[in-house]
């Protein structure tokens, strides 16, 4: 399971190979160019690189795919971040009058990080994750993906494993890219239920009426809760975690539950007792009493870093960037296989580089059977690169990325036709 085959010290040796032969530049460019519908969309995009020894270079920008390729192969960034589309080329930001250089558009992004769940997971803490707590990410993706599609009407959502302990979402619809700061923060707050820092015990409070978003989210949480919270995390097992849960119920109920828990050890039964109490309370109280739902949400509902979503100019780690600590590639996730997605199965840079070397031996033999004339074409280099990643375990992620791009290409095709029509009219 652990990525013990990856040694961070080898990164300087592996990165050149990765950027020369494996990084999917053409798809990457196809994505960020958005069909060329808007002029300078790719050219005015900010990239920022983290180089060796944490040297951080902001406001990089590139005029073409070739330019991007060349620079990345030259600089071999440890980490790539994507920023906004600016009013001017970011690499010339010093040459324009201050104040006129402004971030105009960016995908609406979400960042979910496992460290934000530290108070409700007992298996790991901080940067560590395991298959137990990964369920939290699955829940988060399901809830947010539904809400962004059904409530907000967005269609082109790219979910990406961050490479270590979280996931990112890039909402790529044109309407999303054009959202104002206020609109972004409103969307993020609409989606945020868990509020408060270390000084707040009860972080979810529900009021009547319960909004459809919460109802929909609860059905997701209820599906995972018994397995994830009661068994895997065992939140009603150990004494301290039981107390934590009981800290979230009203005082009178707490006393009664404490007593009844003494004769009842099984987490499922304990949970049933809590639910029973909630039902009883609901029958008698005038105001809404939803503490059992509040507990479930506090333990499982997605926790967003609102600040990342809010800013148009906020940078976020790029897909297909390498995580320097784990060596894992930041790969797009296919939600069809979400429940079986295993972060530990995501390839590391050392793994795919090795695969590339290993398969070369076999490749030579294959080649003799292959038609030779194809080899001689001038586009051979490009083709070789495509074939290169196809020989590694990166292939399936790039394939999924391609599918995603095909989907979004439909939208810009429509846009291009409309634009051309307009031109003809005048």
């Amino acid at each position: 399971m652990p990525s013990s085959d990856y040694d961070p010290a080898s990164l300087p040796d592996l990165l050149p190979l990765y950027y020369r032969r494996l990084f999917p530049f053409s798809q990457y460019y196809r994505w960020l160019n958005y069909g060329g519908v808007h002029k300078n969309y790719f050219q005015n995009r900010e990239f920022s690189f983290t180089l060796k020894d944490d040297i951080y270079v902001r406001y990089q920008s590139f005029s073409t795919q070739a330019d991007l390729e060349k620079e990345m192969q030259k600089m071999n960034p440890y980490k790539i971040d994507i920023g906004a589309i600016y009013s001017h080329r970011p690499n010339q930001h010093n040459t324009v009058k201050s104040g006129t250089f402004q971030a105009l558009e960016k995908e609406l992004v979400f960042d979910i990080d496992m460290t934000d769940y530290d108070d409700v997971r007992s298996c790991c803490s901080a940067a560590d994750i395991c298959s137990k707590c990964w369920t939290l990410m699955t829940i988060a993706i399901k809830i947010l993906d539904r809400a962004l599609r059904e409530d907000f009407g967005f269609q082109h959502l790219l979910w990406v494993y961050s490479g270590r302990r979280g996931v990112h979402c890039w909402v790529c619809d044109e309407a999303a890219r054009k959202l104002s700061v206020a609109a972004r923060s409103a969307v993020a707050e609409y989606l945020s239920l868990v509020k408060g820092g270390d000084e707040t015990v009860k972080k979810v409070v529900l009021n009547d009426p319960i909004h459809p978003l919460i109802r929909e989210s609860l059905t997701v949480v209820e599906h995972y809760f018994p397995r994830y919270a009661l068994q895997d995390q065992d939140i009603l097992g150990r004494k301290d975690s039981v107390n934590k849960v009981l800290g979230l119920v009203p005082e009178d109920v707490r006393k009664e539950l404490q007593q009844r828990f003494q004769n009842e050890r099984k987490p499922e039964t304990r949970w049933a007792l809590i639910e029973g109490q909630a039902e009883k309370k609901q029958a008698t109280a005038k105001k809404g009493q939803y503490f059992e739902k509040e507990i479930m949400l506090q333990y499982c509902y997605p926790r967003l870093d609102v600040n990342v979503s809010k800013g148009v100019n906020h940078l976020l780690k790029s897909p297909f960037s390498v995580h320097p600590k784990t060596g894992r590639i930041s790969v797009p996730m296919d939600l069809k296989d979400l429940d079986t997605f295993d972060p530990f199965a995501v390839p590391t840079i050392s793994m795919i580089c090795e695969e590339l070397d290993r398969s070369r031996a076999g490749e030579e033999e294959e080649k003799s059977e292959d038609t030779k004339e194809k080899e001689e074409e001038t586009a051979a280099a490009e083709k070789r690169k495509i074939r290169d990643y196809k020989r590694t375990s990166l292939a399936k992620y790039v394939k999924y990325f391609d599918q995603f791009l095909d989907g979004i290409a439909q939208s810009w095709k429509g846009e291009l036709i409309r634009k051309n029509d307009l031109k003809k009219e005048f």
Partner: protein
């Protein structure tokens, strides 16, 4: 500023038309005012003194139709401020209007912090302020000319003109714009709120704001969801209520608070919440207008009578900002621990404590605490030493600190990046922006702590039980700053603090005053900010040596007012 002349007259006037170059392209505005251009409209009124700028004199459009009969322009108590005022007004009126509106906006801001917006006490207090300052708010008195004060029309004129004057003062930076828009929107919300529903419709109609209601069938299909997403809509009222379907971007306040049903990017807004869309529209228009005003500002600033006034108006909103300190470096690092117990407000005490315990603070905490420390007099070198010595006791080694954290501390002191000398956060900022999340210790303990935890903490700090219940009562009423002030009074053993608390650094200074027997921090005789203000006022007075004496007096009044506030 060569070629700029002020024609002398015993009553100096401003020609407002030349100040506001707001394109009036919006289709819903009455078409009787042609787009005012810079210096247009000055020609007709030769009887009035006006401003002329040398070479550009009369270069604007000469023909202009003026039909602003007052009833047309001020047909309603609540205005959208679509068209700028064009008349001539005396300089002293100009100043009075500006200052009084600023007072009004300040009141709006203060009430918004200490009360629930639109609650009973909020409306009452705000109404009082409207009356006192002669701004219009209730349409009833429209025709009834009150015996004592100015007529409704005069009030509306004042409302109109003063709004536009402040646009000039508040269009210059992002921060100013944000503050101004926020207060104006709240002001608008209040006035819209107290209108009768018929008047509301009339206002919307007048401004061409009409929205499409969904069909009865759609309402039936979405019945359950509509009821569950809107407060105060039940099965019975649903039948009678219209719902409007608008892009969610037009109803952000409802989206943010989850008070509306969303489907496929559209928000379904019950009639009772229509104010949200109206406000949103108001906000958007104002924001655009401010951006345009900012662009034409250089022309306005060339008027030497206005520049100091506008600058002063715009500096007034923050009150003291505690950024420049004479006592830099006069606090030693050893003093911080004892001071944190005696003179730090609870928010900073909490941050200090968790820094000492965890040897780390997350970004929000570093900003809030770091700037506070800077405000009480830590120098950059001390700050670096302070944070480093604490961080390296935790998981961060010295090398990592220098790489990852030292930058942000130098940044705070304006030594990196865009070199802004950041000012310490005010209570308002701490309470309203960037609420703490998992792992954070910043924010306002009175606002962001569970009452139970707050109680424990206060007990731990040996606040008396009766004091604690008083504080918790204030917290319950959302009077966080008053709760903090109560905490100050209890921990300093004074009956009634003679100040109104709105800044953590103010808390510190006041605390030092009490502890050092009526004096400020030993080596200080005067609060640094006040002296700074004075010198600023002096500066502006020198700059305007030729300007009417009234201006100097006015800015002094303003000083007084905002020192007070």
């Amino acid at each position: 500023m060569s070629g700029c002349t002020v024609l002398q007259n015993e009553r100096p006037h401003m020609t407002l038309g030349i100040l506001f170059r707001v394109p009036l392209k919006r289709h819903h505005l009455p078409a009787f005012v042609e787009q005012p251009t810079l210096f247009g409209g000055t020609e007709r009124k030769r009887d009035h003194c006006r401003l002329q700028t040398g070479t550009m004199q009369f270069s604007g459009r000469k023909r202009r139709i003026i039909t602003n009969s007052q009833t047309e322009v001020y047909g309603h108590t609540v205005q959208f401020y679509g068209q700028p005022p064009l008349e001539n007004i005396s300089l002293s009126e100009f100043e009075t209007f500006a200052v009084e509106r600023l007072k009004l906006l300040k009141t709006v801001e203060n009430l918004g912090v200490s009360h629930v917006k639109l609650s009973e006490p909020y409306t009452q207090k705000l109404e009082k302020e409207f009356k006192a300052l002669n701004f219009p708010y209730r349409p009833e008195n429209e025709d009834r000319k009150s015996q004592t004060g100015p007529s409704e029309q005069e009030k509306r004129r004042k409302d109109h003109i003063s709004h536009f004057i402040l646009r000039l003062a508040y269009c210059q930076t992002e921060d100013l714009r944000r503050w101004f828009i926020q207060q104006e929107v709240d002001l608008f919300r209040f006035r819209f709120h107290i209108l009768h529903s018929k008047q509301k419709l009339e206002l919307l109609h007048r401004n061409n704001l009409e929205y499409d209601a969904i069909s009865a069938e759609e309402k039936t299909t979405l019945r359950e969801k509509l009821i569950n997403s809107s407060y105060g809509v039940s099965g019975i009222t649903l039948e009678e209520q219209d719902f409007y379907k608008v892009p969610f971007q037009d109803a952000l306040d409802l989206v943010r608070t989850r008070k509306v049903y969303l489907k496929a990017g559209y928000a379904y807004i019950p009639h009772q919440d229509i104010v949200t869309i109206v406000l949103n529209d108001f906000r958007t228009r104002l924001s655009k207008a401010l951006a345009l005003t900012a662009r034409s500002l250089p022309a306005v600033q060339s008027d030497e009578r206005l520049q100091p006034l506008l600058n002063h108006l715009s500096h007034a909103y923050v009150g003291q900002d505690y950024s420049i300190q004479k006592n830099v470096g006069k606090i030693s690092l050893e003093q911080i621990d004892p001071l944190s117990g005696k003179s730090f407000p609870l928010c900073m005490r909490q941050l200090h404590q968790s820094l000492r315990e965890n040897h780390h603070l997350r970004h929000g905490g570093r900003m809030q605490y770091g700037l506070f420390l800077k405000g009480i007099g830590l120098s950059l070198e001390q700050a670096l030493q302070f944070w480093r010595s604490e961080f390296i006791r935790g998981k961060v080694d010295a090398d990592k600190f220098d790489k990852q954290y030292a930058y942000s501390i130098r940044h705070m002191f304006g030594k990196e990046g865009k070199r802004t000398d950041y000012t310490p956060y005010s209570c308002m900022k701490v309470i309203l922006s960037n609420a703490p999340s998992q792992g954070d210790h910043h924010g306002c303990p009175f606002r962001h702590s569970d009452p139970e935890l707050l109680k424990q903490k206060l007990q731990f700090y040996k606040v008396s039980p009766s004091g604690i219940s008083q504080i918790l009562e204030l917290v319950k009423g959302m009077h966080y700053q008053l709760a903090c002030q109560k905490y100050f009074e209890l921990t300093h053993n004074i009956e009634d603090a003679s100040f109104s608390l709105n800044h953590p650094n103010q808390y510190f200074i006041e605390s030092q005053k009490v502890l050092n027997g009526g004096k400020e921090i030993k080596r200080e005789t005067d609060t640094p900010q006040r002296s700074q203000d004075k010198s600023a006022a002096r500066g502006s007075r020198e700059a305007t040596a030729n300007a009417p004496q009234a201006l100097a007096e006015m800015t002094e009044d303003l000083d007084f007012f905002f020192q007070d506030a």
